[in-house]
Subunit: 297 residues, 2 copies
């Protein structure tokens, strides 16, 4: 099956009617999008390499779902409304069944997030999935890592550590889409809290998605905001089957960490610590290093 | 050198002051862009694989320049003004010198096109460069492949075949940035005609960039527009050292093909044929197949 026939198979999986803002979808030199008036655009790119970021032998639909949702998670972290994604796929062989399942998983994730896959690129090479995601929010309302202020609470949108626990405890290459255990779901079905976006825009001071582990990611917030973050380990909500270490250093959760001084928002989140003047991360009163995953270390 | 240190080296190469519309540049979960009011956004993604899309042993600065400019070429084809690019880089080793040179070449290309590299991703893996590019144009003015009308002239923005000739005739891995021959420039320094964009928006009916060879790319225009394209081989402007076959089937030129009925625009372009009712490509009166490069054939 050649490149253009494969692309047709992929397009057939991308969901129903195009949204009104998608002026031109896949199949031209580029997609054309008409954002609502007065919006800023958030834009991010992530690569997922076989057997580095996902088990290559795993179910293609699960891989597709996870890669797209993990990418869209960056938009949740900025309190942006997901809009369009572009997908560059390189794979060793033009296996139509595999590619169709991958596209189906991506289409499901896009639909769940309210996003649309608007274009892509296909090449023969080592299995790699690169996703560019774009979203919008009213001008000036997006969250960055740099806005945390002393006195703010440090909050999580949900339990963490599940994906790292799944990686350690389960053969994820054997997972089946319709039969996922809670631990398998932690890894294969990340659920960035897109619905929190309006409230985060109004009331949060900073946000980041948890892709590299709580310590590494909150380390970025502390550095970018020029503050100290004091965490209480007992307050960190652990996913079923996860240890504290999975949560602190494991990564891959795609839950959201944010800071806020707004009581109602705190009340609906897990408050795991407090922002203070100073620098660095502090866990139960002790200064700690960032210990997240770094490539090339 | 670890991931974050490398990213710092890359950022240092990306050019001077950020444009006003770049609200938040590299270093957060995503970039934030504020497009001018009333614009549509064009958005495209391309992957470049070592020893498929460029010689892996070539000069990194040349590779960076070419990959970014070839990506931006999609925006020229839609008559969009280049704005921001995201770059996902996977490479086997964290070689700081190589990566810095690559980023320098990308920064040069971005500056030449009036674009800005607004974010990226770095991973350890097979050498692959994936670029997502975004640009804008007043709502409703972008070119697609589908607008060619019987009676329009088929035009090229410049000579073609040079990149294919260079691939055949030269060891491109030996090219040096400061000492490029005209043939080497054809390959390493693609020059999409960004300055034509305002005129194309007003007067062209379709556009496409020449990445897969004249026949394959114009075949897309004929199919998307539901027309026949009649080409005259003698009218096709050949780059120095290029054969007609290089131009027809070679690809990698990143010149622009467009259709128009506007005489002044024709006068400043190479008119290579005419749009007619019917279907398919016709060269010197004979029906021809598309013969461009396809992955997985």
């Amino acid at each position: 099956m050649d490149e253009f026939a494969l692309i047709e198979r992929i397009r057939a999986q991308l969901g129903g009617d195009a949204p009104e803002w998608l002026v031109l979808g896949p199949g031209d030199d580029g997609a054309v999008v008409r954002p609502p008036a007065g919006q800023d655009i958030a834009s991010s790119i992530d690569s997922f390499l076989a057997d580095v970021h996902f088990p290559a032998r795993a179910d293609a639909e699960l891989i597709g779902y996870r890669c797209l949702m993990a990418s869209l998670s960056d938009l949740a972290a900025m309190a942006a409304t997901p809009a369009w994604a572009l997908v560059a796929l390189s794979l060793p062989e033009g296996d139509a069944g595999w590619v169709t399942a991958l596209a189906r998983g991506m289409g499901e994730a896009a639909t769940a997030a309210g996003a649309r896959i608007a274009g892509g690129n296909l090449a023969a090479g080592p299995l790699t999935i690169t996703v560019s995601v774009q979203g919008w929010a009213p001008a000036g309302t997006m969250l960055a890592r740099s806005g945390a202020k002393p006195g703010d609470a440090i909050c999580l949108s949900g339990p963490v550590g599940g994906a790292a626990a799944a990686l350690k405890q389960i053969d994820l290459a054997a997972s089946k889409p319709g039969q996922l255990s809670p631990l398998e779901r932690s890894y294969w079905r990340p659920q960035p809290p897109f619905s929190l976006a309006p409230e985060l825009r109004s009331h949060a001071s900073s946000g980041i998605d948890l892709s590299d582990g709580l310590l590494a990611d909150l380390g970025h917030v502390a550095a970018a905001s020029g503050v100290a973050l004091h965490l209480e380990s007992a307050a960190i909500p652990l996913a079923e089957g996860a240890s504290l270490d999975d949560a602190l250093s494991g990564g891959d959760d795609y839950a959201l960490a944010f800071t806020t001084a707004h009581k109602p928002l705190m009340a609906r989140s897990a408050v795991i610590g407090e922002v203070a003047s100073g620098s660095g991360l502090h866990l139960d009163g002790q200064r700690v290093d960032e210990q997240g995953f770094r490539h090339f270390r």
